[in-house]
């Protein structure tokens, strides 16, 4: 009798974190409540019901990830404030000379590079307004350009440890370095980038016809560039801050690359350089801190605790044993399953909680079936990042891009996004599958 009661209490205790987690997940996915509020409310429920105590909760938080994100947010805010990104955007607009293909290709290259080294949301916040202004001013339909930049930002962000939140989480929780990310993932990211760009160009090749045979359009380009130059000339450029900001960012990237020599974790480097920049720039700290996305950081904090509770109660172990490890121990099957499950799930669910949930599962898979060269982690990173392109809600950059476009009167529906996103994700995941299979074959 006593045993039955004890079993029932333990069963109920296990059910609570699962139910709380599912409710929070649904609230996040369907945007019913603010993400940070949803996760922290979930944590509150677990603590109040004594499922976990506050000390355990703090222990589940991965401060390395939070430090990296906070540091990068402060660096980007200060560089943005200097006007650097505005100068870059206007220069690219001038270089394109209004050619639709050049607009697509050059902006895509810049978006991919910026996404690789800054966060994707900042990238689209900078790129989307100018690309809408440029294309609309030329009488082109901005829709495909906006969609392409959102998609490319997710692809570019896949290349580095700091490019996309799933990578930040995987890097810091698993202990993978900046160099490991960039050396392993950038070749496949470049290939995917080229294929996706070619697909976008091919499906809309009529829109991307050259304009240098039409004098009216060439005149329009010149007038439009004059207008853009004027509009952006009103933005204050702070050269001193720009030099200091870019120096700190370059130094931070250098320290990421030399992590194995210095032994400095990316979180320490990012936050350290951010503090250096805050001090040497003599910026208004209160004003800069207002720009930091505290809700994102609190969202991460809450998620770490919720997933920690699931791990504590053996739920993660159960999922790993009953879902992933049921397919057997064939490394090819495991790698491809992680890639495609991560890819498809990230298209419909937020890829941040998904990645945080998958990390302990992959640890368990690796315990029973060791797979060399971190290939299972690369499968998770590629799946979670590329999968964000399936739907409008798959990644924060998509939601922000569609939101900016709407503000400028460009309507992009869920279906519009998905029509392009599904094909792009299929291309990306197929190429990633080939890459991972070849890499695994070479490693075994």
């Amino acid at each position: 009798m006593e045993h039955a009661v004890q079993h029932s209490v333990q069963h109920t205790s296990t059910l609570i974190p699962i139910v709380v987690f599912l409710i929070v997940y649904a609230a996040i996915t369907f945007e019913l409540v603010n993400k940070a509020a949803a996760t922290l409310a979930g944590v509150g429920v677990l603590v109040v019901l004594h499922v976990i105590n506050e000390h355990q909760a703090v222990g589940f938080i991965d401060f390395e990830t939070l430090m990296l994100l906070t540091g990068m947010m402060i660096l980007v805010t200060l560089i943005k404030k200097s006007g650097f990104f505005t100068i870059v955007s206007v220069r690219i607009a001038e270089i394109t000379k209004g050619s639709p293909v050049k607009i697509l290709v050059l902006f895509s290259i810049v978006t991919a590079l910026m996404s690789a080294f800054l966060d994707n949301v900042t990238t689209v916040l900078i790129i989307i307004p100018i690309i809408i202004e440029l294309t609309r001013g030329l009488g082109l339909n901005p829709k495909n350009y906006v969609l392409s930049q959102a998609i490319i930002s997710n692809i570019g962000g896949t290349a580095t440890l700091i490019g996309d939140p799933p990578n930040v989480i995987i890097g810091s929780k698993v202990g993978l370095s900046f160099n490991q990310f960039i050396l392993t993932l950038s070749p496949i990211v470049i290939i995917v980038f080229v294929f996706v760009l070619a697909y976008i160009w091919f499906t809309h090749r009529v829109e991307f016809k050259p304009i240098n045979t039409n004098m009216s359009k060439l005149v329009a380009v010149q007038l439009l560039l004059e207008k853009i130059r004027y509009e952006f000339s009103n933005i204050t450029i702070d050269k001193k801050l720009m030099i200091k900001g870019l120096t700190c960012l370059t130094l931070a990237i250098f320290l990421f690359i030399t992590q194995t020599i210095t032994g400095l974790a990316p979180g320490v480097v990012a936050l350290g350089m951010a503090m250096v920049l805050l001090i040497i720039s003599k910026a208004d700290v209160e004003e800069i801190l207002e720009e930091v996305e505290w809700s994102t950081l609190l969202f991460f904090t809450g998620l770490f605790i919720l997933v920690g509770a699931l791990e504590e109660y053996g739920v993660i172990n159960w999922i790993a044993q009953n879902v992933f490890m049921n397919v057997g121990d064939n490394p090819y099957v495991l790698v491809l399953m992680v890639l495609w499950v991560a890819g498809i799930a990230s298209g419909f669910l937020d890829n941040i909680p998904f990645t945080i949930t998958m990390i302990p599962i992959i640890h368990l898979i690796l315990e029973s079936t060791p797979i060399p060269n971190n290939i299972l982690w690369w499968a998770l990173a590629l799946g979670a990042c590329f999968g964000g392109n399936i739907t409008m809600i798959g990644a924060s950059a998509n939601i922000v891009s569609v939101g900016i476009a709407k503000k400028y009167g460009v309507e992009i529906s869920f279906i519009d996004f998905m029509k392009k996103g599904v094909i792009v994700t299929l291309i990306s995941l197929t190429l990633a599958s080939i890459f991972l299979v070849l890499y695994l074959r070479a490693s075994l």
Binding site: K97, G137, L138, G139, N212, T213, N214, M215, S216, K217, L218, V219, A220, V221, Q222, L223, L224, E226, K227, Y230, N234
Partner: protein, 298 residues
């Protein structure tokens, strides 16, 4: 001619003229045409058609914009008088047309410089001048007068924020003292101000002028209060067409603000009678409104 190309260029003209005078907009357009000629890649026999299309688009812009409209007429006249499109390869044709455009630009620049020289004669120490948009008065005369050491102040009437901001930028750069007030507040300043400076997109032979939106209100109010109204314009802004033919653009847009949804209808420019203007100043000095036809470009 593609309707889309016409709409795109019209919209660009309307945007650019918000932060530059119509004369400066014309110079920008001439430079744009020159750059476009350089970039253009088309069969030799298509060059004439491409150039004609651009000329037609400019002459049909909504609203019609001078001096560029008259400069295009002069370009076409020159092209007609001398046969630039026969027995030459495309590069020769391009070079010849570019030279004509450069000479037109030079003429407009000379006219604007002379307009500035003539205009500063009408600015005196102690003047308190009203401005409301970026026209030749703000762009040329006031900075020139300041450079000459004249001591005056400006009252900026705030209307469209983009225009007001640009007027402020120009005056700041020139170090001219100013005050900004909402346009509807002008009534409280008639004891301080003594002149109104305005510009125009066109002066028509039927005794009207086409100008920035909001000009009509201000000119009328100043006229009622017997405040001298000065209109500064190069003669290339005078046209032998009528005010009704100026293609005033009508914008009908749905607006949603503060919980209210409504349709907002606005016009790109005002048509005002020259009877409300006391002085018309051109590069030739003050001219009589009854003699506008003498200065028309034909």
């Amino acid at each position: 001619m593609s309707n889309n190309d016409q709409l795109v260029l019209d919209a660009l003209f309307r945007d650019i003229v918000k932060f530059y005078s119509s004369s400066q907009t014309s110079i920008i357009t001439l430079n744009a045409i020159t750059a476009a000629i350089t970039e253009l890649e088309c069969p030799t026999e298509d060059f004439k058609m491409e150039l004609t299309t651009v000329c037609d688009i400019i002459k049909n812009s909504q609203p019609r914009m001078f001096p560029i409209d008259n400069l295009i007429i002069l370009l076409e006249k020159e092209l007609q008088e001398k046969d630039y499109f026969s027995d030459k390869d495309i590069d020769a044709r391009k070079t010849a047309v570019t030279k004509i455009i450069e000479s037109l630009e030079e003429r407009l620049n000379d006219d604007m410089n002379e307009l500035a020289n003539q205009g500063v004669k009408h600015i005196e120490d102690g003047d308190h001048i009203i401005l409301h948009s970026v026209e030749e008065g703000a762009e040329l005369l006031l900075p020139e007068a300041k450079r000459m050491g004249k001591n005056f102040e400006v009252l900026i009437l705030r209307q469209d924020l983009v225009k007001t901001k640009q007027v402020i930028n120009i005056l700041d750069t020139a170090g001219i003292k100013y005050t900004v007030v909402p346009e509807w507040d002008l009534i409280h300043f008639f004891d301080k101000v003594n002149k109104l400076f305005i510009g125009a997109y066109a002066l028509t032979v039927d005794g009207k002028f086409v100008s920035d939106s909001g000009t009509s209100n201000i000119v009328s109010e100043c006229h009622i209060h017997k405040l001298p109204v000065y209109l500064f314009a190069p003669t290339l802004e005078i046209t032998n067409t009528f005010s009704r033919d100026q293609n005033i653009y009508l914008k009908d847009e749905s607006v949603s603000e503060s919980g209210s949804d409504y349709n907002l209808i606005s016009h790109s420019s005002d048509i005002v009678s020259l009877d409300l203007v006391d002085h018309i100043i051109t590069e030739h000095g003050a001219i009589d409104k009854s003699k506008l036809a003498d200065y028309c470009t034909t």
